[in-house]
């Protein structure tokens, strides 16, 4: 035994302080090799921050227009408000559009209201975006993207809708609907993603963490995952697209980790081991790494 010979030879030697080689490490009375931890793909600090904040509120707003979210300041006279209320209550598009056209005031907010009313009634409408910035532009880009959703192919999702939603997110980070639909659009477009596995996982995880930044509350995130299921018209277990199902398992597991439900996250991670997607093993190991410090706390 080479090791024994070396040991007996060095016992009389005096202690020379020297650092232990990186490969060897001591635990208790045992020497063993130390596996270097892989570089984390999911942003650990963001996950930890959201887990600490849990159900505390954030600066993200839920309104359907910039004005409802508090992104623009405006004051309206009673006549405009009455006409807008009539447009909100009406059940025929003609009544609503006549009411909005009868307002004496003007501006981008009322134009956005006309566009939104037309979309709510299912009327075809063009969504102009010139000359706008910030929350108003975010709304228009979002509605533009939503008009393309009913007839979108995977290519449309990847090349038109996803970039529009990302631009809307840049324009107004406080809009929750944009953050939610960035996740859905990524899932719809995931067949077109060509980057490496770590890059894709990091991108998807960033979108999910943007979404859960609104609140890492279990009720909230359960609502979100149900909304995603309704938008994709399937559960992750019943998704006919197996690779997309793997990403959805990962998404729900990450949201469960952030919301403080490690049992759900580990069950979803176990589903990933049966997936044919090539990125599934990296996703599973990332989830395990995220769950380990949680369990040790």
């Amino acid at each position: 035994m080479k090791a024994l010979a070396i040991l007996l030879a060095l016992l009389p030697l005096t202690l020379c302080p020297a650092p232990l080689m990186a490969d060897w490490t001591r635990t208790g009375l045992e020497f063993h090799e130390q596996t270097p931890p892989p570089d984390p793909v999911v942003d650990r600090t963001r996950v930890a921050t959201q887990q600490a904040r849990r159900c505390a509120g954030s600066s993200i707003r839920f309104g359907d227009t910039a004005a409802m979210r508090g992104g623009v300041q405006a004051d309206w006279d009673d006549q405009t408000r009455t006409l807008a209320a009539i447009a909100a209550m009406a059940d025929s598009y003609d009544t609503a559009s006549e009411a909005l056209a009868a307002t004496e005031e003007d501006g981008a907010t009322l134009d956005s209201l006309s566009v939104l009313t037309a979309l709510q009634f299912g009327q075809p409408v063009s969504v102009p975006t010139e000359g706008l910035a910030g929350p108003m532009l975010a709304d228009r880009l979002f509605w533009q993207a939503m008009t393309q959703v009913p007839s979108a192919t995977t290519a449309t999702w990847a090349n038109d809708i996803l970039p529009a939603l990302d631009a809307a997110f840049q324009a107004d980070p406080s809009s929750f609907q944009v953050r939610a639909w960035r996740v859905i659009a990524w899932l719809q477009a995931q067949g077109f993603q060509r980057a490496s596995c770590p890059a894709r996982i990091a991108d998807f995880a960033d979108r999910l963490l943007d979404l859960s930044e609104a609140s890492a509350c279990p009720l909230m995130l359960g609502h979100v995952t149900h909304g995603i299921d309704r938008a994709l018209e399937s559960r992750p277990e019943t998704d006919p697209d197996a690779t997309r199902a793997a990403w959805r398992h990962f998404g729900e597991a990450l949201l469960a980790t952030v919301a403080g439900a490690p049992e759900v996250a580990s069950w979803r991670g176990a589903q990933l081991t049966r997936s044919p997607d090539p990125c599934a093993p990296l996703m599973a190991s990332e989830l395990q790494a995220l769950l380990r410090p949680e369990a040790a706390r």
């Binding site: 024994l4 007996l8 060095l10 016992l11 020379c16 020297a18 060897w24 635990t27």
Partner: protein
Amino acid sequence: MMPLALIPAGAAALGTALLDDRPGAALLLSLKVGLGMALWAGLWHLGMGLLAGSGRLETLAASPAHALAVNAALAVAACLVPGLVLALTARPAPLGPVHGLAWFCGLILPLLGQGGNWPVPSLLLAALCAGLAMVLGGLAGRGR
């Protein structure tokens, strides 16, 4: 973990004291074996420190087989002195190996296993050291 080490040792001492009509010898044996195990653990720890500080591990690749070899060699080397001491101070008393195993479980076993992971080399090492502990206990209980 250390205070828990008293539980199996106390149980062994008590059990064998119940058996024999010389409970004093059994308790003395338990104490000697316990001190012997503590000496073994201390020398083992010292050996680890010397080995780590000397940087001799560079010549070895950090694979499980090499790690097992190094750990086993350290264990054997460290148990020579306690074994000698126990053999020289032996008094006849029953169930020496049992006391050895009990004190091993209390003092040394918690420090093995890579912090709870227990891969196969750790299991082998623990089995080897358990055997050594029983030998030491047997040495201590063999009378003249």
